[in-house]
Symmetry: C2
Subunit: 395 residues, 2 copies
């Protein structure tokens, strides 16, 4: 038993009984059902036992992406699936538009540059979401843009874009629309087929409630057609390889089998709740969280906020990095900090995936106790009270 008990030994100050909470916008807490599913003995990925599991997962993913299109699974981080959406759609010299309003929008541009493309960058002020008119203007100015790369929820700021309206303006052009929905998926409504989105990218460690290691790309017929002509090089991330294998209910390379067991269990939970209810739950919890934050007199950083996460400005006199450390080391609550220009200025908290009323009250209680501990004046319980009132009034 030495091996296992060692693993549970805390690696910094604290003790074994100190209860820990993870409230970051990914990776998110994994439900015990999912962890337990992952404790199953391994099976071979090219066996009749694995096929029905993979099929069930693929159907579940289609439900989550709200599509009848194929949803490819890559054993990679979300960034791998993002890269796949660049290298499988484009060829050298192609024009692409990258909407950049935070760290993950930047990634679209960085991937394009890594492959020798010269992306047209649509800069959006951090905290705001891109407006459909901005994309429309960019497309009118550059009618030969082949693909628009945007983000459902920009996790670095919490801003949520109106993808439905964006899809409508992109539809008027020749471009395909690619949406990074990694942190937005399931927290924010997204209907791939109804809204006619060409590519949606997702990851396992967000509201899919599964450990990181699986990433997804759902692709329309137009996107598949482009992938047949695309000349940028690819091998591991090739859609053509993945699609050919998906037709036979398999993958071109050994998949993360155990993580797939976990995803199967998570998808069952999601389908049982129903996607409309999953969306509503996230919206309700995030609204309650914001109500609590506001009642404490704290500022929400995000201008175009949404249900994915709550970004809170560190109040005057409080250093955001020190605040995170108090939250984590004194109260056992791991939140996320700011990135780029807002490093040390904001903290980000999510009620994502397997989250309920009491994840909101836990997060707000931790916000209150940590700020108070740091000498910030507030009336303990003010935030929690406001959240509870919101939750009671909005069942």
């Amino acid at each position: 038993m030495g091996i296992i008990s060692d693993l549970f030994t805390p690696t910094h100050e604290g003790n074994l009984m100190k209860k820990k909470y993870i409230v970051t916008p990914g990776p998110v807490d994994v439900p015990p059902q999912v962890l337990l599913a992952m404790a199953q003995p391994i099976i071979h990925h090219r066996s009749p036992e694995y096929t029905p599991i993979f099929k069930e997962v693929n159907e579940g993913l289609q439900y989550v992406f709200q599509t009848r299109n194929p949803v490819m699974t890559f054993s990679s981080s979300g960034s791998g699936a993002m890269e796949s959406a660049v290298v499988n759609l484009l060829s050298p010299g192609d024009k692409m538009l990258a909407v950049v309003g935070g760290k993950f929008g930047e990634r679209w541009a960085d991937i394009a540059k890594a492959y020798g493309l010269d992306p047209i960058v649509l800069e959006v002020e951090w905290g705001y979401a891109v407006k459909p008119e901005q994309i429309e203007a960019a497309l009118q100015k550059n009618p030969d843009i082949k693909a628009v790369y945007t983000t459902l929820c920009e996790s670095s700021t919490g801003a949520v874009a109106d993808i439905k309206a964006i899809a409508e303006v992109v539809k008027k052009s020749k471009a395909v629309l690619v949406v990074d929905a990694i942190s937005g998926l399931l927290t924010t409504p997204l209907k791939m087929d109804e809204w006619e989105i060409d590519v949606v990218v997702g990851g396992s460690q967000k509201a899919l409630m599964t450990p990181p290691g699986l990433a997804f790309a759902a692709v329309s017929d137009r996107a598949v057609a482009l992938s047949k002509e695309s000349k940028l090089p690819k091998f591991y991330l090739s859609w053509q390889k993945a699609l050919k294998n998906l037709e036979k209910d398999t993958t071109p390379f050994t998949p993360a089998i155990t993580t797939t067991f976990g995803l199967q269990a998570a998808l069952k939970m999601i389908r049982e709740e129903g996607i409309e209810n999953v969306w509503k739950r996230h919206a309700r919890l995030a609204s309650a969280m914001r109500a609590g934050v506001k009642a404490l007199g704290l500022q929400i950083y995000t201008k175009d906020f949404g249900p994915t996460l709550t970004a809170i400005c560190a109040p005057e006199g409080i250093d955001g990095k020190a605040w995170l450390k108090v939250l984590r080391d004194k109260f056992g609550v791991t939140a996320a900090g700011g990135q780029g220009d807002v490093t040390g200025k904001i903290i980000r908290i999510a009620q994502m995936g397997y989250a309920s009323t009491f994840d909101v009250t836990t997060a707000l209680s931790a916000v209150e106790l940590s700020l108070s501990d740091m000498g910030y004046k507030l009336n303990l319980g003010t935030g929690v009270k406001a959240a509870l009132e919101y939750l009671e009034q909005n069942q």
Copy 2:
């Protein structure tokens, strides 16, 4: 509990009490200690709790690769790490040598072609390992070869190459040596630093006894220097990104955290046994397996066999695919079949990773019972007897 019990419901003929065995050369059976470690609650990968785990894993990997060089971890299949060894070392127009003696050697050439390179292919008859003289001759004929891509154990045939001798001939040239050690690592001795190998690639789901989803590339100073000049495009698989992050004990992208917990537990088991003992155990078990197969009058397919796996020719009158099906469906034992030209002609069985004496006797018992069931004449127990005698004589 519905969610979990459903997962354990057999998906084809059989019942819940039918005990299953996986004897494929990867994925391999995952020890309960590793599965249990993976049931730990998730933690954030950029937190002081994760850092010591990642550091311990990296030190453990250096031990396994027998190197002081950095060992990068990618959240991907082994093929992702193989691709990284092409795109980070080479530039358009570069000459590379791919040793192709099976499906995984072919992969080196396929990756190169996907990136527009024109690989020089050294064809080796399936079942044989490349001879150092063949590589020497190829390097003399093409002194401008920048990198030699070869395989420690070619899993599709079981052939094991003499990498130490190969490293000696490659050293005389300007080329760097890249070794796909995915299935060979820990089953076959490999000493990266002592033998002066530039790049060694590995994967979690082989003798590292962890579920698939993590792949590794250990890189020498020369390889790192080449990666700074390489002009082939890369983003997710960039060594420069991975190395910069590794210096700070982190990864550029969200890692497969849970699989890393498993790997930590597996590495502890490996270090406790000691790598020399791990190598000896694999050699001993594979020799016992071969002794049993031969005693049954069956033929070993591999000419240059090694301790990674045993490839058995389907005897006259027995179809290899049907044999696999009987093994799996009637006896609950999942073995691997032949690939390419030997599809339906061989089966492949490994005692890889968490394997002991009784994995040999189980595999041989299953071979005997399945062949007998299919009408092949043999004296039951002959193979097991020979294996036991070998094991007793070679403690």
